[in-house]
């Protein structure tokens, strides 16, 4: 694994290498170099299999993290390529030309996180949510609880008590 990372380093800039376990590492790369590195890994280093592409919302840093998890089926090792992109007008170069399933992932990311992948086939078509008008729901600032409270109604007649509060009320209300 280390030699692969060393080889990437001769050509590209990578930061923050984390060896999670013997056969799984994560590297952080820049948005500009990401697709090039991934192509390099696929074509030269044998990471022919894309396990998944997903995002995580680091709202406190105003960043989205994109993770391209690549797998080398011969060496049986995984490499997670992390790319941090700005949350504002989030956009990333498309990788649909590298694997056929990427277009689906990118369509989902557009819908769920609002990350745009220009030129990705069908990226603007709704994937799971039809007629969704709220903010992309997998963003951290989308409050699922609030949404369900606004959208659905609770069953009447339910009321609970906090044991400590209730005991105060019953045993020492004036203290």
């Amino acid at each position: 694994m280390k030699d692969i990372i060393d080889r990437i380093k001769t050509k590209y800039t990578i930061s923050e290498v984390v060896e999670q376990r013997k056969n799984l590492s994560f590297v952080t790369v820049s948005k500009e170099q990401a697709i090039s590195i991934i192509t390099f890994l696929r074509d030269i280093e044998g990471f022919k299999h894309l396990v998944l592409l997903t995002a995580a919302d680091w709202i406190e840093n105003d960043k989205f993290q994109l993770t391209y998890l690549l797998n080398n089926p011969t060496e049986k090792i995984d490499l997670g390529v992390r790319v941090f992109i700005s949350r504002e007008n989030a956009s990333m170069e498309s990788a649909h030309h590298l694997w056929e399933q990427v277009a689906t992932y990118q369509r989902e990311l557009k819908e769920m996180f609002g990350i745009d992948f220009p030129d990705s086939p069908g990226v603007d078509k709704p994937f799971i949510l039809e007629g969704w008008e709220d903010i992309p729901p997998y963003r951290r600032d989308f409050d699922t609880k609030q949404y369900s409270e606004d959208t659905y109604f609770p069953r009447p007649g339910r009321e609970s008590n906090d044991p400590a509060e209730y005991m105060k009320k019953k045993l020492y209300p004036n203290e």
Binding site: R155, P163, Y166, E175
Partner: protein
């Protein structure tokens, strides 16, 4: 196309004559022994801690009051109600249940047209499956969702400690404290039992999250003597801890001590934000610098009052300093708590006994209000024949003299009469002194109460024995044998019961069973009485007393003489935490009284 492939499928016809496998009556099919069906709850065992509600990811559980179940110490009086419209039958509520009262039956079929019947309180609303043995129970063994065993406290070895007065409990390290704090389920059942109603789950959470400042602030909201309480509190909270029902209760006291130990004296004001309190110009006098007096002083000072404490001895702390041995509560820790209170502008006038050096009437004139927390200092005697001998002592006197650094009489063979914490304190102190003087221990503590009902903390009894003192409970003293004006020993008879059926003190003895403890010194430790001589007759006339001579106060510890507030051991207890709670409450009462008066 092979002929075989055309003919082979026809073999399916042989199944025409097979016995059908369909279950004819699905309603009578029984679930497996572990099946997760409808809930059962043993409501007698359940304490309504609400941990089941906390873990339920579906919000299917509500804690509701139940008629006939009283809210009391250690039981919230609430019981879980399950909404089967939301329950996902994961049974985590069962696995996490602190008392093991909750379980699931293996019943799973129930048809009804009314959706509301599927919301009920297991164990209260009777169901067919209440007595069903089968169903999901918490897996056994070695299956816990939180640690049931307490993180052991490191202590000095008995051999190391039985010669010296060095503090024996070492305190938790950061790792140990966080591990212990992790065991808390945050139910909050303990809060009601703590006389000061401290925010226990909150400060334990602060320990867990390594947020000492937050925890420290929490402590001072209700308790201005955390170093002291963290060492010698009677920790009633731990007796009701929900985790204690199926494991060891949380070490609440040691966690409190851990927080206080982490903060340096010079950081107190900074963390608590108590710099520059505005003086409101009113003056309060406090009699006695024990826990109640110090607590009242602290909270009054925070409100801007100018507080002066009158203390009979030359050091502050009352019973905490003069009653509790140094190996349990080192003097520097007492000073740490007290010095902070003094830094808030509280003054102490030492060596001033109210009633002798200054009169209560003078205080009334000079101050806007007075708080008296004078405690119980007078030793009580057994009054058995021989108890007036010069080598019969009161425990409180000896303990005080040890603190004052006076040389006390230590005989080779000593008997202590009493089974409370004070008796254990003097027993263990004398054991140390005997060790220093004679190189061996020969002290016996004997109490009226049998071992199971001895009022002393369990660990005190265990540790006394570790230090080679003998604890021999269940005997009533009858006489002290004296020969040639020298004590030979103590005669006792078997005590069969201490309290009568109505729970009143009324000991019964078996005179046929007697014993003789050889001794040349006897210490009495059967309780203390109050000394309120300083309250002059005209003031007493304004006050109310109950038939047993105790002062009657209102919810704010205000006596019949409106300017005089009384609290601490003479009202409630005797222990430190009640004193602290009384002092705090009285401070609020004084503030209220003065505001209303103005």
């Amino acid at each position: 196309m092979k002929l075989k492939d055309i003919l082979s499928p026809f073999t399916a016809w042989k199944h025409v004559v097979r016995e059908p496998v369909t279950i004819k009556d699905p309603f009578s099919r029984e679930g497996a022994d572990r099946y997760r069906g409808f809930h059962k709850n043993d409501i007698e065992t359940c304490i309504g801690c609400g941990t089941c509600e906390d873990i339920c990811q579906n919000a299917a559980i509500d804690m509701v009051p139940v008629e006939g179940i009283e809210t009391k110490d250690g039981d919230s009086g609430l019981r879980p109600q399950i909404d089967y419209g939301r329950c996902c039958w994961c049974a985590l509520c069962v696995d996490v249940c602190t008392t093991n009262s909750l379980s699931l039956s293996n019943h799973f079929t129930w048809v009804d047209e009314d959706a509301d019947v599927f919301r009920f309180i297991p164990g209260v609303d009777k169901k067919d499956w209440d007595n069903e043995e089968r169903g999901w129970k918490k897996p056994e063994p070695n299956y816990e969702l939180y640690e049931k065993e307490r993180v052991p406290m490191r202590e000095l070895h008995p051999e190391e400690r039985d010669k010296s007065f060095i503090e024996m409990v070492k305190g938790y390290s950061k790792e140990e404290a966080e591990r212990e704090a992790d065991r808390c389920v945050e139910c909050g059942i303990c809060i009601a039992t703590c006389p000061a109603h401290m925010g226990i789950p909150e400060y334990i959470k602060a320990v867990r999250e390594d947020n000492i400042e937050e925890g420290f602030k929490k402590l001072y909201e209700t308790n201005p003597l955390p170093e002291i309480c963290g060492r010698i509190c009677t920790h009633k909270c731990e007796t009701v801890c929900s985790v204690g029902h199926t494991g060891d209760p949380l070490s609440i006291r040691w966690l409190k001590r851990y927080i206080a130990d982490q903060v340096e004296s010079e950081d107190y004001k900074n963390i608590l934000g108590t710099d520059g309190i505005e003086n409101n110009g009113k003056k309060i006098a406090i009699i006695g610098s024990g826990p109640s007096g110090l607590s009242a002083a602290h909270y009054l000072a925070l409100m801007g009052y100018q507080v002066k404490i009158f203390e009979a001895f030359d050091k502050a702390g009352g019973m905490m300093r003069y009653g509790i041995p140094e190996y349990r509560l080192p003097y520097d820790q007492i000073d740490k708590d007290i010095n902070y209170i003094l830094s808030l502008g509280v003054e102490i006038q030492y060596n001033t006994k109210v009633g002798k050096d200054v009169s209560l009437a003078d205080l009334e004139k000079e101050y806007d209000a007075v708080f008296a927390g004078t405690g119980l200092h007078l030793g009580r005697s057994t009054r058995i024949p021989g108890s007036d001998h010069e080598n019969v002592y009161f425990a409180t006197d000896l303990l005080r003299e040890i603190t004052q650094g006076k040389e006390i009489h230590v005989a080779e063979k000593i008997v202590v009469i009493g089974g409370g914490n004070v008796a254990m304190d003097i027993t263990r102190s004398l054991a140390r002194l005997q060790n220093q003087k004679y190189g061996k221990v020969d002290v016996t503590a004997t109490s009226l109460e049998s071992e199971d009902i001895m009022p002393a903390d369990r660990e005190e009894i265990v540790e006394s024995r570790e230090e080679k003192a003998i604890v021999d409970p269940g005997w009533g003293p009858t006489s002290i044998e004296i020969e040639n004006n020298k004590i030979k020993g103590l005669h006792v008879q078997k005590c069969t019961s201490v309290f009568d059926e109505e729970g009143r003190f009324n000991p019964k003895f078996d005179e046929s069973q007697t014993k003789f403890f050889e001794a040349d010194m006897i210490v009495e430790s059967i309780g203390q009485g109050m000394d309120i001589e300083y309250i002059s007759k005209d003031i007493r006339e304004q006050m109310e007393f109950d038939p047993r001579g105790r002062i009657i106060v209102d919810d704010y510890f205000q006596s019949g003489a409106k300017w005089l507030f009384v609290g601490g051991d003479i009202i409630q207890g005797p222990d430190v935490i009640h004193g602290i709670a009384n002092g705090h409450r009285a401070a609020i009462g004084i503030d209220k009284y003065l505001n209303e008066k103005a």
